[in-house]
Amino acid sequence: MKNIAISTAAGLSMLANAAFAETEITWWHAMGGALGDTVNEVAEGFNASQDEYVITPVFKGTYEETLTAGIAAFRAGEQPNVMQVFDAGAATVIAAQGATVPVQDLLETNGVDFDIEDYISGVRYFYADADGKLIGMPFNSSSPIMYYNVQALEAAGVTPPVTWEEFETVTAPALKEAGYTAMSQSHLPWIFVENFMSRNDLPFATNANGYDGADGTEILINVDPLKDHFTALTKWQDAGYFEWFGTGWGDNQTPFEEGDVAIWFGSSGSFGGLSQKDLGFDFSATYLPYWEAVTTEPKQTFIGGAALFAMSGKSDAENAATAAFFEYLTSPEVQYMWHRETGYVPITTAAYEMATADGHYERFPAAETGILQLSLDASENTRGYRMGFYVQIRDVMNREFGRVLTGETSVDDAFNTIEVEANELLARFAQTQN
């Protein structure tokens, strides 16, 4: 049934080729608003750059909605050529070998030069398999960074904290004295769990963070450094250093934009949006703090955001078009444009050098934070993580953290629950892979 559908689709697209003499491919993405406009700009740029291929971007809603739509379409044999999948969905799509054509194979088959060393170190392995072969093409790559209100920190007479110890003893009390809530953040699982692990050089799951296969992978979340961090958060909340405005991203960003909160943990991709707003203060950004008590050699963070996957079951002509699009997308000019407009990090060294040479970081020093943080020292723990049903695991974390921060449960109970439920989900996911 599926094969018939695929061959019919292929047949139809061949007819289309004959009629228009150009290969049409589709690209499903989750970039709304201003980001969506930039995505359209990239697509139009590709279409104008040559006359063999035409790419059509289609906005499919949130990251979760896009992934679900892509899966449903794949099962019906009507998948797009290119699908954007976010970090938490990576395990699902990479585990389904045969659903996508590994990007590295796609590029090499179609004669596009590919060298993993061209990519900045932080983006190389997150969307790769256990052997380091690139499966998905990193697209909107971001990492959590620390934004701060320059005037607020000046008023309090402090500098951005390098360690959490400094935040606790120096920065936060001074900011409180100056009339600010010291800190808020927009995504607890991403910023204070996943990237907490890589920044503090801690393993996140067994089986090499899950890269070695779904069988027997267990999450390593119920550990003292992480629990201590959340205990500290509740203490800071009581002391008025930290406020939590719910699980929604924007609810936690707004108080920073309004000048009530002095330090906000968000995405390096938030830079574009923040700089377009009239905030009434200057903002800058720097690395995520680390706990000196945990490590004295802090590491790079995980790449967040999403990657583009080439769906399988397409004709060679369409795959060639997809490869050509990826080649265009990774060119330094396009990467620099994407980086400049959105704040997402450029994924290649060449694009980063182009941005540097153009003086982009002299004009906007904060724009460089993400890429610098992703280029810090790496270790086994910073490559990424690969866990199935991870969207639900994040939901479990959000639920339990919300309960901790509204006083419904204790840190110990919350982490026990997360560990149990996450491991159940991982075991269930392993069963889907037989």
Partner: protein, 293 residues
């Protein structure tokens, strides 16, 4: 009395066929699929799957979170049903007494019916906005630090309020037409027997409204269980976190956000059984005891 009937056996079947085909295609077939999927754990893309028997069901039974959501759903359904019916009845009785400008009042009370659940949810989101929502401000003026999306109870309150607001007009329309179908002679007789309008309502009007009331009860329970999805989705902004959710929303979260097809199929089978029980309850108990004429 002469019984009307068809001359051939095939004509009625032929006439029923389109309807049966639609039911089979859009209900029985997917329902059968859901039952089948609930016994498997399947790779979202459809590559691998394991037969796990009743594992998906026992997993739910042993999951304290699922129990918590079921409890919330029960409470939510009771509250939404009770308040939508009670408020609508009060408004209908009052509107029934109005003579001047009756049409305008009725229209004003009914228009909310045209608001789609997600839009109702969105209006709720604005009214309860953490920073400047007028209803959140009102709560704060009474010393209630209302925080939608942060505090479980506050989010639950907003969900109930918005769902009730959305449902009152439907009930209002039915109650009003129910009231208007009560014969004038009965009312006049009651007027002679009892001076107290309160007693007249409970002894005469209310029992005569019972058929409408029971019909609405079932409608409202299904509304609270299923149709409030849009309200819940918008109020939790697609990120459930520590916020309350209903069983239907949980099916969506696990199946459509998390791609756990087996687990969410098991949950939808449970809901299917629930609806079946509700329907049997309606036909067996309610229909037998309430007379519709």
């Amino acid at each position: 009395m002469k019984r009307a009937g068809f001359a051939t056996r095939w004509l009625p079947i032929l006439l029923l066929l389109p309807q049966l085909a639609i039911i089979a295609l859009f209900f029985y077939w997917p329902a059968a699929h859901a039952v089948q999927s609930s016994f498997y754990l399947e790779d979202p893309f459809g590559f691998g799957s394991s037969f796990v028997g009743f594992d998906n069901y026992t997993h739910l039974a042993g999951n304290s979170e699922y129990g918590r959501i079921a409890q919330f759903t029960l409470l939510f359904t009771v509250l939404v049903t009770f308040f939508s019916l009670a408020l609508a009845l009060l408004l209908a009785v009052k509107a029934d007494n109005v003579i001047r400008g009756a049409k305008m009042y009725r229209t004003l009370l009914m228009w909310v019916y045209a608001v789609a659940p997600p839009v109702a949810g969105f209006i709720g989101l604005l009214m309860f906005n953490q920073n400047w929502g007028p209803l959140a401000e009102l709560a704060k003026s009474f010393g209630w630090d209302f925080k939608l999306g942060v505090n479980f109870g506050d989010t639950a309150t907003a969900m109930v309020l918005v769902s009730v607001w959305k449902q009152v007009p439907v009930n209002f329309i039915f109650f009003l037409s129910g009231l208007q179908s009560i014969p004038k002679s009965v009312r006049e007789a009651a007027l002679i027997d009892a001076r107290s309008s309160f007693r007249r309502f409970w002894d005469v009007t209310f029992p005569l409204l019972a058929p409408t009331g029971f019909f609405l009860l079932i409608i409202n329970i299904t509304y609270a269980l299923f149709d409030t999805f849009g309200v819940v989705d918008v109020l939790v902004k697609g990120e459930p976190g520590n916020n309350p959710m209903t069983l239907v929303y949980k099916v969506y979260v696990d199946g459509f956000r998390g791609n756990d097809i087996g687990g969410s199929s098991a949950q939808s089978v449970i809901l299917m059984v629930l609806v079946l029980a509700l329907t049997i309850f309606q036909f067996r108990l309610v229909e037998r005891r309430i007379h519709y004429t």
